[in-house]
């Protein structure tokens, strides 16, 4: 069978970076094709070229045998190509319905037919299994919900080719299941689906074939998954074998370093308390919207607290605002890197030292050398793929941006408690293992570490203890010895009798 979608000799260079060089492969109709590779390998760039958003320097894309020349995303839509980008592309002030049909409003003579719009959107949302109302403003939705809206946006178009760039990175497993079901339906309907993910189990479960990129070059192309193994894929991606990605090792927990007592806030009305000890990694698991991120933001002082105390090392209450928290040794690596993580317009180096520099800036005067050294050290340690520390952070691939955010807190001295919300969101397997290793080392140095993650295997793989949240309360706690996938999942589900997977907290 001839390839329905084919890339031939695609190359793309950014200043200082060869993002893609001479990439060629093809995908057949009615199939799901995986696209994998390390952070910065060029996956998103390839997809952006496919979407008409960026032009390739050379090379050609053809669909159904005819060469395509997209000069804008609209051209791509017209040719039946839709892309769900890695970073969310929603308009927060518009409603769900408006976002879903943005650029393609049902209208008569320019006047929007809101009734038709709502009806259609509500129907589609129901198909997808999302219980948000079409009239809700997107700014009111949680990150996970937004991600689902983004996916719904693509599905609603009658496309021939659909590309999904890390769609599950902020979805819970329940939501991922819904997505997988939809992908199955699309495949059955004869679409071509390009699927980018760092979660290899998803690749094996969903894909009919896959392509591996490495340093912008085609490292391997597998038309079928028949004789592909996990280890072989990892080797093709990273160039080396990674046997045990979790690599958990036992530690003995010390004194209580973080103690949270009866904390409440506007979105978490029920008092919550927990603690984390020196040398301990505490995992927080829950469904999207269960309130984990909210809780961590309250602990950190990012949002105003209504009540409760946060005690570090038995001292008095800490963390009334982020600045004070940092000074008291409590730091949070937040989950939404685009909104409240990276500082756009500043360089990679600046983003790394933004907090730590106060330790080596006497009288507020910068020490450029110390800054450069610090940045270089962490770029090396975390293998951040960037042409230089002076590169604008927005030009980094998603995963590399995430690494910069981690580096920001690793560079801080005097950290006692490290909270990381979705630490490996968008991070490749190789780097994941490195980050886990880093967390272990930090724990061994005596830090208390709190990890929020929606990936159950990850939480189970690296935590010493797991706290499960559900509807804004702590639903259960497990010691490592008692970890059990089914039990943990069950306690995360809000209403065990209703059987509705994603009921929103009221």
């Amino acid at each position: 069978m001839a390839d329905f979608l084919s890339f031939s000799h695609i190359s793309k260079t950014y200043p200082g970076v060869k993002a893609l060089s001479d990439v060629s492969f093809g995908v057949g109709k009615g199939s799901v094709h995986g696209l994998i590779g390390e952070n910065g390998a060029g996956k998103s760039t390839l997809i952006r070229i496919l979407s008409g958003d960026t032009a390739a320097d050379s090379g050609e894309i053809s669909i159904d045998g005819s060469a395509q020349h997209f000069s804008s995303t609209r051209d791509a839509f017209a040719a039946g190509v839709v892309v769900v980008h890695q970073e969310l592309q929603l308009v927060p002030e518009l409603t769900v319905a408006e976002n879903l049909r943005l650029g393609r409003f049902p209208n008569r003579a320019g006047i929007i037919d809101f009734r038709a719009l709502k009806a259609e959107v509500n129907r589609r949302l129901k198909d997808i299994g999302l219980t948000v109302d079409a009239d809700t403003k997107v700014s009111k939705l949680s990150l996970g919900e937004r991600q689902m809206i983004e996916i719904a946006k693509a599905i609603m178009l009658d496309a021939r080719v659909i590309a999904l760039d890390e769609p599950t990175s902020s979805l819970s497993s329940q939501e991922s299941e819904v997505l997988f079901r939809i992908i199955g339906e699309l495949r059955a309907a004869g679409k071509v689906i390009i699927y980018i993910s760092h979660r290899l189990d998803e690749i094996f479960r969903l894909c009919d074939g896959c392509t591996v990129l490495r340093d912008g070059k085609l490292a391997a192309h597998h038309p079928s998954m028949a004789d592909v193994t996990r280890d072989s894929l990892v080797a093709e991606m990273v160039g080396r074998e990674i046997s045990d990605i979790w690599g958990w090792r036992g530690r003995t927990a010390g004194e209580v370093r973080l103690k949270v007592e009866g904390i409440t806030g506007s979105k978490l009305p029920h008092p919550i308390g927990f603690e984390a000890r020196a040398g301990e990694i505490v995992g927080f698991f829950g469904l999207v919207g269960s309130g984990r991120s909210e809780l961590m933001r309250l602990v950190y002082g990012a949002d105003p607290r209504h009540s409760g105390r946060v005690i570090i090392d038995g001292g008095e209450s800490a963390g009334s605002n982020p600045r004070r928290s940092i000074r008291e040794g409590l730091v949070l690596c937040s989950e939404d890197r685009k909104f409240d993580g990276i500082v756009q317009g500043l360089s990679v180096g600046e983003n790394i030292v933004i907090s730590a520099r106060r330790h080596f800036s006497p009288f507020g005067v910068l020490s450029l050398k110390r800054e450069a050294d610090t940045a270089a050290e962490f770029i090396k340690q975390l293998r951040i793929r960037t042409p230089s520390a002076k590169q604008d952070i927005v030009n980094l691939s998603g995963g590399n941006q995430q690494k910069v955010l981690l580096a920001r807190w690793l560079a801080e001295s005097g950290v006692k408690v490290l909270i990381v919300d979705e630490p490996t969101r968008g991070i490749d397997v190789g780097a994941k293992a490195e980050i886990y290793e880093l967390l272990y080392e930090l724990a061994e140095k005596g830090l208390a570490i709190v990890v929020v993650s929606s990936e159950l295997p990850e939480v189970m793989g690296i935590s010493d203890r797991i706290v499960v949240m559900c509807e804004g309360r702590i639903a259960a706690r497990y010691e490592r010895a008692d970890f059990n996938e089914h039990a943990i999942l069950a306690s995360a589900l809000p209403d065990r009798t209703a059987g509705e997977p994603n009921k929103k907290a009221s």
């Binding site: 995303t73 308009v91 408006e98 943005l102 650029g103 929007i112």
Partner: protein
């Protein structure tokens, strides 16, 4: 109590606060709430009200237009001079509308296609267009030969002068366009997230050109009405209009960061400015103190709206 709170903090809270303030002014300022004064008040806000309609779109799409005052003056001149030269008012009006539209189109094209910052672009055209108005008239007002031109402003329908009607119609039209049309929603989308809009296939460049072009056209309407009201084309007219129109919009809750706008809000903003001016003159407040009062009212109005929306739990 709970009802009151709901009323004040609700979507229409700004309106409610405004109504209360209006009632207070009516009671405490003598001869404020008379038919004559109300008509005078409305007429005094015609220019800014009309321009604010499209300025709202401009701001909502995260742009800026500083050239409105110059366009109003220039098109007023053109209307008068073309009428005088051709002997036909209709020709004059068409010429003015065409000039306004053209300037707006140029603004939009430079901003969208050459990707030059809107503030600088319109600051430049503001000067260029004002220069043109001055050059064409040698810096002096140009009188209107045909008294029929005055009728534009003097004629009444149901006892209300035409300019007020035109302003009201534009309020309705642009309110409708903002909320109910593809154009309006796309405008908000561009302002709210330009990147997402572009990726969703919204013709961002085209939209920006249209927004500025319509702004130019609407300024021409305001310029014509103004020339008719003051029975001459004045090259110095409407200086500072840009800041007033932007204030009216911001007072009315239009976000300078783009993506948020409402016609009712802008109308309230326009009226707040107009009423402040009107009441101060009725109260015979000294010119220098008027500065103080104007400043304080601005602050107070945004502050109130702020208290309201934080009380509502929004950001």
């Amino acid at each position: 109590m709970a009802f009151l709170k709901r009323l004040l903090l609700g979507e229409q809270g700004l309106l409610v606060i405004f109504v209360i303030a209006f009632a207070a002014v009516s009671i405490f300022v003598p001869s404020f709430l008379t038919e004559r004064n109300m008509l005078g008040l409305f007429q005094s806000v015609v220019t800014i009200g009309i321009v604010a309609c499209t300025m709202m779109f401009c701001l909502a799409s995260r742009d800026f237009d500083l050239s409105v005052g110059s366009i109003v003056a220039f098109t007023g001149m053109v209307a008068v001079m073309a009428s005088n030269a051709s002997g036909s008012i209709v020709v004059g009006l068409i010429a003015a509308l065409a000039c306004g539209t053209f300037v707006g189109f140029v603004n939009g094209t430079i901003i969208a296609k050459l990707k030059i910052n809107a503030l600088i672009t319109t600051l430049a055209t503001m000067q260029i267009v004002r220069g043109l108005a001055l050059i064409s008239s040698d810096g002096r007002a140009v009188g209107i030969n045909d008294p029929g031109f005055y009728q534009l402003a003097l004629s009444r329908f149901l006892g209300i002068p035409t300019p007020i009607w035109i302003m009201l119609i534009l309020f309705c039209v642009f309110g409708f366009v903002l909320n109910r049309s593809v154009f309006g929603r796309n405008t908000l989308a561009i302002g709210g997230n330009p990147e997402a809009s572009r990726l969703a296939g919204v013709n961002v460049d085209g939209m920006r050109i249209w927004i500025f072009t319509i702004q130019g056209l609407v300024c021409a309407v305001a310029g014509i009405l103004l020339a008719s009201r003051i029975t001459s084309g004045q090259p110095n007219a409407a200086t500072g209009l840009e800041l007033s129109a932007i204030s009216a919009c911001v007072l009315g809750g239009v976000s300078l960061a783009g993506g948020r706008a409402a016609m009712t809000g802008v109308i309230v903003g326009v009226l707040i400015l107009g009423i402040a001016e009107n009441a101060m003159n009725l109260l015979n407040i000294q010119a220098f103190y008027q500065y103080l009062v104007r400043g304080l009212i601005l602050l107070l109005a945004v502050l109130l709206d702020n208290v309201r929306s934080t009380g509502l739990g929004r950001k």
